[in-house]
Symmetry: C2
Subunit: 251 residues, 2 copies
């Protein structure tokens, strides 16, 4: 792991866990069996050691381990180590991919700060289902490791055209285009400031001509290019998210 | 796969194969057994169909399949479809990682145009070996798919300190730093124009204090940050390569 110019010093021994409990001064939280196993067996922690919890809305809390065994592990919140900060909405819209590319994509998108992962069904989509539970656990683990204070939402797959006219009619959609004559992404993003934002990458075999024409017709869709090489869908997503965060977000 | 604003139109049916033969007008090339299997069994190609070959120095050649069966597959070069272009030297220096992160890193780095992959041994390196043959095949496949005309060289692992004073004493080393008070990478790269370039990312547990001090002491080393979240080593490599190519290279 790497860190960066943020306000946190990198501490490879710091353990952060996501919980579905309210967090406040003195709150006792019972951890799951998986978390107990991780703390005790994998990380060799014991009662009295410190662990950090976050739940997506109460910030991050330093907690003391009160009790740790295979049956029950309880920690108590001692102080808030970081306040919750509102996350700017950033959706990654992507066609479902095969393993391991989709796992990779969810992990990296979480590290790069997306708030919503929206699988889309397109004309050339070959994989139409996703395993939400599995991808959710990948997103949770990535959020725990990368110091963010929330977990991205993984939505059910929807048709691309329905999303354009429905849920995301008011978003600015950055469409990673497959054709010539589109500006590079860094250039295209210069000077733009209004969200909410969606980054859209296509399936392995690209968008259909109909889809491309429709996308280019929308006022809120901006076609951008990602360079001279042909990137895989998962690489394109990571590259686009990186450039977005470096230009408009927090990188 | 996605394409982009390059000069090539995206054709998902185009097959590109790397060969270790000279390529010229009318040259006959015998493909390997793996390539024959891929062409015939996976892609359902047959004699008379077209395939594209490249070898890292003669450009890309359109070829007709003369003969295709399990024992022997021969193609003949008909015309050069793209001339060879010199690749700007760009080395990714990285600590060996566990699977699947290292496979991913090699694949993505190839797509993002690195010419050299240099594993480095650092104080906190936990994995000290790499499987060069396996990583070479991943780089070759990524090069075939992403339309580049060469294949990155995968070097043997070396000690970080030796590389700094030896092979890369004359390079500008962009060091993805783990501390505070370093400029973001896009900012740091503005106005810089002289290579050869090295991008250096650390091992999972970061660089040691001694290594960090030494790195920051070198005149040719530039420390940069990659944003407020803690990125895994493989994510950091992809993000750094993306920003480099977008700023100074070809993205």
């Amino acid at each position: 792991m790497m860190t960066t110019r943020g306000t946190m010093a990198f501490d490879p021994n710091k353990i952060r866990l996501y919980v579905d409990h309210d967090l406040a001064n003195g709150a006792s939280v019972q951890l799951s069996r998986d978390q107990a196993h991780y703390l005790g067996t994998v990380m060799h922690k014991k009662a009295g050691d410190q662990v950090f919890l976050f739940n997506g809305h109460d910030g991050e809390w330093a907690c003391d381990i009160l009790h740790l065994d295979q049956k029950e592990t309880v920690v108590r919140a001692t102080h808030q180590s970081r306040p919750q900060q509102p996350a700017a909405p950033l959706t990654l819209m992507f066609a479902p991919l095969k393993h391991p590319a989709i796992d990779f994509l969810v992990q990296k998108a979480t590290e790069l700060g997306v708030t919503d992962l929206q699988p889309v069904l397109t004309d050339h989509t070959t994989t139409r289902r996703i395993n939400s539970d599995h991808l959710g656990s990948i997103a949770m683990e990535a959020a725990e490791q990368c110091e963010r204070l929330d977990i991205p939402t993984i939505h059910d797959p929807k048709d691309l055209m329905g999303l354009l006219s429905g849920d995301h009619a008011g978003s600015t959609i950055i469409y990673c285009d497959e054709g010539d004559n589109v500006p590079g992404m860094l250039t295209a993003l210069k000077g733009l400031q209004s969200g909410p934002w969606v980054i859209l990458v296509g399936p392995e075999r690209g968008f259909s001509p109909t889809e491309r024409a429709t996308l280019r017709d929308q006022d809120n869709v901006m076609a951008v290019g990602l360079g001279p090489r042909i990137l895989r869908a998962d690489t394109a997503a990571v590259a686009a998210l990186t450039m977005f965060q470096a230009s408009l977000g927090d990188m």
